[in-house]
């Protein structure tokens, strides 16, 4: 923490503030300029609330200088985290491709989409059985039955499964069927859920919250890591801004930023970010070009009748064509699917 005093600060105020900073456990380094007095407060309190100092008399500002996350930070672990799923290594030079429907709807649907997924070369099938919907009147997912049929479909085509978990007491249930837990944007700060997932030994994909800063996102990853689960990767899925022509604003610059700050892999979800299928190919290409460690794309065999998010699901044939383009771009960045 660095503390800056007002020019008008009295000696008494400065002494009092220094006393408090020391009381909070910091060591003091004082620098006196012509018009400003600076205090460097040294100590190991990444979560100290600097507002405690800001509100003191005589203080102009107090600024945190330590990242609040530790285990997620590249300072602690400089080499990339690689999550080995057998068929794919997330975070390696091999990019990860995930596809499938928004929601699991029935056996026929999930079989067909598992087949398309396998055909594309993707190793992981997505599909939601428990859906967080903004309206109580919308389809809420097939639940356990959905997980069962998805598991069968995935096994038939040799695929791994990723599926969303929306409540902390579902960990055992979802664990039984899934290979990767997905934490959705609305649950990025569902701390009871993060704590529970920190205890499992299966990978967790943590989506960015709808208005989360990169720092808050990494703090939520920290909950998982602090719980003991090191198999964590991130997924950029667009943030909320004032722009309305797209569903969200796809913040692709978060990808190189995460890769600089953290050792955790980060993939991108252009389907939720843009909200419309015709925007998915350009934004998927952009994500790979920006250096994402992989991509998740929603597909549907009959999107007009999809029970959720049909308008952002790609038709299988267009998806297969897109994957070829993504492979070519990956090569330019020195990677491959």
């Amino acid at each position: 923490m660095v503390v800056v005093f007002k020019q008008s600060a009295t000696d008494e105020q400065i002494t009092s503030v220094i006393g408090k900073i020391e009381h909070y456990g910091f060591r003091i380094h004082k620098s006196v300029g012509e018009r400003k007095i600076l205090i460097g407060a040294i100590g190991d309190s990444p979560n100290f609330d600097v507002r405690k100092i800001k509100v003191l008399d005589g203080v102009a500002d107090a600024i945190k200088i330590t990242e609040p996350y530790k285990l997620a930070s590249r300072c602690l672990k400089s080499s990339n985290t690689v999550i080995d799923l057998g068929t794919v290594k997330i975070g390696s030079d091999q990019l990860v491709l995930i596809s499938g429907p928004c929601s699991i709807e029935n056996e026929d649907q999930i079989y067909r989409l598992a087949e398309v997924t396998a055909q594309s070369g993707a190793k992981i099938l997505r599909g939601g059985a428990f859906k967080p919907r903004s309206s109580p009147y919308s389809f809420q997912g097939m639940g356990k039955k959905g997980l069962e049929i998805m598991r069968k479909a995935a096994d038939k085509f040799g695929l791994k499964i990723i599926t969303e978990i929306i409540q902390h007491d579902h960990v055992d249930l979802v664990y039984e069927y899934a290979d990767i837990f997905q934490v959705g944007a609305r649950n990025m700060q569902n701390f009871p859920l993060l704590k529970e997932l920190g205890k499992t030994d299966k990978p967790v994909m943590l989506k960015r919250g709808i208005s989360a800063t990169v720092e808050e996102w990494l703090m939520s990853a920290e909950y998982l890591l602090a719980g003991g689960n090191e198999k964590v990767f991130l997924c950029e899925r667009g943030i909320r801004t004032y722009e309305r022509f797209t569903r969200h604003t796809f913040d692709l610059s978060s990808i190189p930023v995460i890769q600089e700050k953290s050792h955790l892999p980060v993939i991108a979800d252009p389907s939720h970010a843009s909200g419309y299928r015709h925007l998915v190919p350009p934004m998927a290409r952009a994500a790979i070009a920006a250096g994402a460690d992989g991509i998740m794309i929603e597909i549907h065999n009959n999107p007009e009748e999809a029970l959720s998010d049909g308008p952002q699901a790609m038709f299988p044939e267009n998806f297969l064509k897109l994957v070829e383009e993504l492979k070519a771009i990956a090569e330019i960045t020195g990677r491959s699917f």
Copy 2:
């Protein structure tokens, strides 16, 4: 829903789109202008995803015209909801005043603050026992023990209790001690929690999500109402914007907007919105002047040692002075504490 065709739309495209709209269960009213064709699609599907039509060939735009919430809407219930707690009627001409610490920390603290709360004329004591903290290394709350000591303190001074609930399987536990459940900003879209609270018979205060629109906020209230719990009120606590001198941006215009769209009471929390105690008095006055149905203010006897959010907690003596100003403003708007 209203569907607008492109000027370039062919007859075939128009026929095909109309067929699909009818297939989705709407009745059609067609209006033909010089250059535009409009379809009014009439039917009772407030949660229909208009993107399904937007993505069709020949369509320029598809626009939802029905509010997605029903039970929360003033269309359905034109008179104000009033929640009678015995000592105070939330949503009536009598404004509600809630005060207390961010977190319950120990017996002494909560007794002192219950005393100040009673002294101010407030009828409701706030205090958190389960804290949703962005860092896993921060104080996570006293848990059940906190609820016990808060209950005793409240009873001693004849106060009701409001406290935050952060997981759906805590409803029974919190029910035992609290008079009002608080759903915090981070849980506004924790749907398993909302579903569970929809089944209780105790009031729920629903805080606005950090980047929630007014519409999404009312949709979350709809979850509670649809579950059967009619004792719902809302709390504006600031939204996320690019501005950093305040913790959040206090969107006070949401108060008259909610009162226009919904029959549910809405109060304001200037402490979380501004993040600094010296900003609380002007923003509390503003909230009452804007017509809020009440106010929630954080206080602390020793904010420098508070375990959470001390810098935004008011000192008891300043709080008591502020309450007098709020009473005077309330009178001007024809209401009283």
Copy 3:
């Protein structure tokens, strides 16, 4: 500026960075913690681009600690700026009330509204002759003719005039008719205009830009002050957020924040902030309760036929009633109109 080194920074990197900081004209204070090295860089370069240090090898972060504005800062001038217009002192205990139409439309309109303005006790008449419209097909204002008729109307009722200036070569023209220059939100960073207005001896009201931070707003005030014009006051008019039920989000907390950071008066414009006349009374009351130094409200005798922003203009009779409420609230805060 404070510079924080990475834990992994080498001695060579640190030496090189220190050399560069000194080269940029700063003096160095080094603080060594267990795991972090901090440099306090002391010197008088409020506009130094800290990114220059951030991008150097071995640097974790570089943080500006000096406010970039000087003349606008309360550090430089602790007493409030008061702008004496004869009939009203902006920034004093006497609050300023400004009313009138969005656009001057014709003689009859501006006379009627000047009359209402005088009747309310307001001392300043507003009205636009040059309108910055987002569409080239919208009414662009009456121009010079509008200024002429507004001047006559104002003089008849003993009122001062505030009017918007949208281009730097209009200063002489507008000066001839107006008592106060208004710089609109879209021109808050029109630097040629600010430079020109810095040379005049008439007051300037600087509206906050649509997505300006408080700091950027004060920097634009700094342009005016640096040019030699000390008669500057500010106007909060709402910022852009994701919320769409209101035209903008009225950031009332900017009022106490400005009053803390700067000696310049700050008033509020609830008409543009909310965009709908029925939201103006609650938000006007809130602004006065929050401590604004005054308020600007749009009125129209026939808003349905107004050439711009009719839906946010109040009817005269409702406006007069609102002013009575504002007077009562002002009194509670120790001020008066």
Copy 4:
């Protein structure tokens, strides 16, 4: 426009509203559902302020259904606009590459960077002579002298010039030296400037405003087109959000959105969007992969001493390497530099 009535609307209210809509020049199509009455108001008033209807008694909502821009719309002109500069055709399959310094600083600097620009295959040199700076104390540009030396440097290497214009009375001056006018983000809604540039016969590149919607951006293009200048292209340069690790949030999805709505070419500026040179390569690659019609990149021979925005300028050698990657990605999307 579509008007939706409240369920509680009386016959009188409906009749009155219909009368007003007709008075405003619209023809009426009425659709009666079970619970809702819809009015389709047909007519050619793209800039009609729908709030005029929204505020009427009995009205639930009034929704604009016509795009407010005409000349910029793909409805009016379905084929892409191509701007032929001789050496490059902006908006064609040939992508445009623009590079150069943020500010022109001296002869040596601009010659060196013109040389690098030519070496990369770029046909257009950028450089600012008039700089819009948020601080009055920052370098404001070399002015006319800068334009002179830039012209000489460009001519030596056979390059075209793009340079920013910040005030409407500079059109003749800048016209003399430049091949393309650049309107910066802060001036996207400087309407006097747009009107003046609408009269010239040289191309204009219009940057997106810092918080402009795509619609507002196209409306500003409309000002240029309505003035008679058809040589308009757009430049995405990042928007303001709450995220602070990057200077702005690069909204790459605006590129396919613009290409869908408008016939105007759109390029991208990753330098201003990200603010840091190490983020420029991934974001430049992403922009080309997303389908941008070209890219503008800031370079500097000695960025540590640059008078503005040095930290976001690439070193020449890295820039030349990046251009090779961009060429490879362009090929995958069926285009070339």
